[in-house]
């Protein structure tokens, strides 16, 4: 691509990645969550793939695979945490420990240290979606078209 596209991509890549992380991190407070934030972060990867050559990310396939598996396993393990009650029971909510702060009822701006297993699940799903969509985009860029490369 031209130098304009590459410069804009260089500027926008960290911004898009940070915004994806923000959407994942505040998934239990603001609109959005793991899926949406992961998709935003994967769009940053797509930007890099469009602006630069896909060979730059070719060696990262193992990393994507590991991240996707890690996210899925973490999600299921967090589900199994609540097995004393039911599968996916939120044992950490309101317990006082990690993400265990109770929430006052009614409209309030919210605290980051709340909602129990939900933020952890958001991170797991976010990494899973980021790695999965990143792998899809990378595979399309590497093997998709044969015309202009």
């Amino acid at each position: 691509m031209t130098v304009v596209v590459r410069t804009v991509a260089r500027v926008l890549f960290p911004v898009a990645l940070a915004f994806g992380g923000y959407v994942i991190m505040h998934g239990h407070l603001t609109p959005g969550g793991g899926f949406q934030g992961g998709a935003v972060a994967a769009s940053a990867l797509a930007l890099v793939l469009v602006a630069f050559s896909p060979a730059r990310l070719k060696g990262k396939k193992g990393l994507f695979s590991a991240l996707e598996s890690l996210g899925g396993v973490a999600f299921v393990v967090l589900g199994f945490l609540g097995l004393g009650l039911t599968f996916f029971a939120n044992v950490l909510a309101g317990a006082g420990g990690l993400f265990g702060q109770p929430v006052p009822a009614g409209p309030n701006p919210g605290e980051l240290n709340t909602a129990g297993t939900l933020p952890l699940m958001n991170w797991a799903v976010g990494f899973k979606v980021l790695a999965g969509l990143g792998a899809v985009v990378l595979l399309f860029a590497l093997f998709g078209g044969e015309d202009d490369r």
Binding site: H28, L29, G33, F35, A115, L118, G132, V136
Partner: protein
């Protein structure tokens, strides 16, 4: 001829949709509100999450999200299967 058939099909389908839209209940007044009331009342004390949608997606209906994650995994696997280099 086929133009008139298309127009008739369009009119019939649009008529069905318009009559269906006229028969809808007023906005924000569902017939049974127990489930909505439960989620809006209890997502803060039970799940301690301000975002009720996330409370539903990751807590009350965690199974659904697990299935969604599996669907994504299957899609990635299918793309990787189709787009790999075939070595005859």
């Amino acid at each position: 001829m086929s133009r008139w058939v298309s127009l008739a099909a369009f009119l019939v389908a649009a008529g069905f949709l318009i009559f269906g839209a006229l028969a809808l209940r007023p906005f924000g007044q569902p017939k049974r509100a127990e489930m909505d009331q439960y989620f809006t009342l209890y997502s803060q004390p039970e799940v301690a999450a301000n975002n009720a949608v996330t409370a539903i997606v990751f807590d009350y209906r965690g199974y659904d999200t697990l299935g969604e994650a599996t669907v994504l995994f299957t899609a990635v696997t299918g793309v990787a299967l189709i787009l790999r280099r075939w070595k005859p």
